[in-house]
Symmetry: C2
Subunit: 377 residues, 2 copies
């Protein structure tokens, strides 16, 4: 009888229309039906990413698309700059390392954002640097990177800008073409309201040119094959058909609501949630918080793993806990995708109850009032 609520920053809840699309009798991808759907999904993604460039759809987790950026665009002998301020920034470095690609790390304290001027300085310090690898929202800490400022600081430098936008493109403001981003990576399972299993990568013209000449070995992630297949909308390998069908439905909903309205809504939710948590006497982890996921620090007198387990098992509400060095120390609540104000109130309430179960009392009422007031209600 327990109702379940999913409030983790990915996978996020999937709308009914998209769930039902996956439950349709199985159908084939070498058909006019799939080609039409593939084209419309791609066009929807262009709108979400704010680009007129090609978007390539890969059947993989978001990590696969991050690796695609590296293996298609960083030729032998070239280096990268990697901003590491959490688990996903570290992943950029791990991918480079796996291929023996030297990278200049910019390590920032978890929960802090990199300084755009410093990123540009390091990138320009070595002519072998081909790209800077950023994380738009570092999901592990709920921290936002000012991608536009990094792009501006790198104008005319010839250095490409890669953005892991897996957990915020489609939720927070992002303008690939206007800002001058060269590779944008998105995942299906966050702001795009689709189950995990599809990843997307959009390339600027200069990135597309670099892909064509890059000598590095790759096959399933070789974006040249995806590019070649686009004019006929005939994917190079058997695509995850049901996930495409779900993504098609979710993108329709996003288009109907409008991407700029989505950005505004996420911003409002992020701001109101942070204020509510602070009104409840809790501290935020991030000094540069992203609007799409809030990481709240747990008081010293509670067992953090127990808080997550209580929320999930007793309250029926699944948040995310902390990863790596933050394990047991934070709870993360998403504001992306198919999440409304009531979901966030559910999350705040379940968190308060989980803290109370360990005899740590917070003023939930003050949090709720603050939340609704900031939303103008």
């Amino acid at each position: 009888m327990q109702k379940k609520y999913l409030l983790a920053p990915g996978p996020t809840p999937v709308p009914d229309q998209a769930l039902r699309a996956m439950a349709e009798p199985m159908w084939h991808h070498r058909t006019p039906r799939f080609r039409n759907l593939y084209k419309e999904v791609t066009e929807g993604l262009q709108e979400v990413i704010q680009t007129s460039q090609n978007v390539y759809c890969i059947g993989s987790s978001g990590t696969g698309a991050m690796e695609a950026a590296i293996v298609n665009l960083i030729d032998t002998g070239r280096k990268t700059v990697v901003v590491r301020g959490g688990k996903f920034g570290e992943r950029w470095g791990a991918i480079c390392q796996a291929y023996g690609i030297e990278f200049l790390p910019i390590d920032v304290t978890w929960g802090e954002a990199a300084d755009p001027a410093e990123v540009a300085r390091v990138a320009k310090s070595d002519p072998a640097v081909a790209a800077v690898c950023l994380t738009l929202c570092e999901t592990s800490t709920g921290t936002h990177t000012d991608v536009k400022a990094v792009c501006d600081a790198l104008t005319d430098s010839g250095v490409l800008v890669f953005v892991d936008g897996i957990s915020s493109v489609g939720a927070c403001e992002f303008r690939m073409d206007d800002w001058g981003v060269d590779a944008t990576i998105v995942g299906s399972q966050k702001a795009l309201m689709t189950p995990p299993g599809l990843a997307y990568i959009a390339l600027s013209q200069r990135a597309d040119a670099a892909m064509e000449t890059c000598c590095r070995g790759r096959f399933y992630l070789d974006l040249r094959a995806y590019k070649k297949s686009l004019p006929k909308w005939d994917p190079p390998y058997t695509p995850p058909v049901t996930l495409f069908a779900a993504q098609h439905e979710s993108l329709k909903m996003m288009r109907d609501f409008g991407i700029q309205n989505i950005w505004q809504r996420t911003a409002d939710f992020g701001k109101a949630t942070r204020a509510a948590l602070q009104a409840m006497g809790l501290a935020l982890l991030s000094k540069a918080p992203s609007d799409c996921v809030t990481a709240v620090c747990l008081p010293d007198d509670v067992d953090g793993n127990e808080v997550v387990a209580h929320m999930r098992d007793v309250q029926g509400v699944t948040p995310a806990g902390g990863q790596a060095q933050l394990k047991g120390k934070i709870v993360r609540l998403t504001h992306m995708g198919h999440i409304d104000k009531f979901d966030i109130l559910v999350g705040l309430t379940a968190l308060a109850q989980a803290l109370a179960a360990q005899n740590h009392t917070v003023d939930l009422g003050k949090g709720v009032n603050t939340f609704l007031k900031l939303l103008g209600e």
Copy 2:
């Protein structure tokens, strides 16, 4: 109002239970529920593959798992032997080529099977050969390879045997451990009755050891990360949760029916379908037909692409046509997965109607009678 029938060799029809599992409200993978499901899926796959070794689950098409075999097991300076008798045999070669791995090709006429003794001879001719790459069922031609005979001929040679079993493991007899296969690759969307998007690879002990020492760069397909995650059933990257849920249901059905009963049923269907088509006066493409997909040659007096389009659009029945040099020349009907005798009769009937639409008459009744008689009915 038109009812739809999917008779292509992948994706194949997905049972209702599996479709409904995907339509459940979205849920999270870092939970006891997912860990339990992940474990049970892995155990089900071990039964299907007939192995007690580790099976790694990758969110990708089957091609991703083929590439995983190459990048994890073929170290720098080593070579492979590739049997090329169709589009998927050629893919093994294309993957090697993408990484600059030299391979000794054994080219056989499309529709014919490689001679196991010849494969072993070539593999032993060069000490740099690390592995032989086979295709259990070459889906593009409906041709079966005698994997056991190849393994027997390579006993004690030190050469690994890789089997692309994407479209027949789980339908046709296959015994990884007994036969001595070193890497078995399977896809979710064929005999395993799940939508595309998950691929599986099982490694023998000596293959697992080769993986640990292989220096080749790889990340998303690095099986060491999957191996490391197994004891805790905590996948290295966000897995395609809905596809796992579907696979879990389909594997339960397979276990209930019994893998050996499935093998027998597929063998019966293959034999009866081939006899029926011949009774209808049509020729088979393959000289060594697989039981899991039948490729039938289309008469010279019809437009083959039109036959496929008529079956799909007018009759509501989706087969596969030919690929590459066989485009327009064959129709392929599957006998794998959630396919019963009535589905195959639907396929034969739709084919006869599509031929009749181009004024080529076949004796469908004779085909139907032959089909049922051979099934003992």
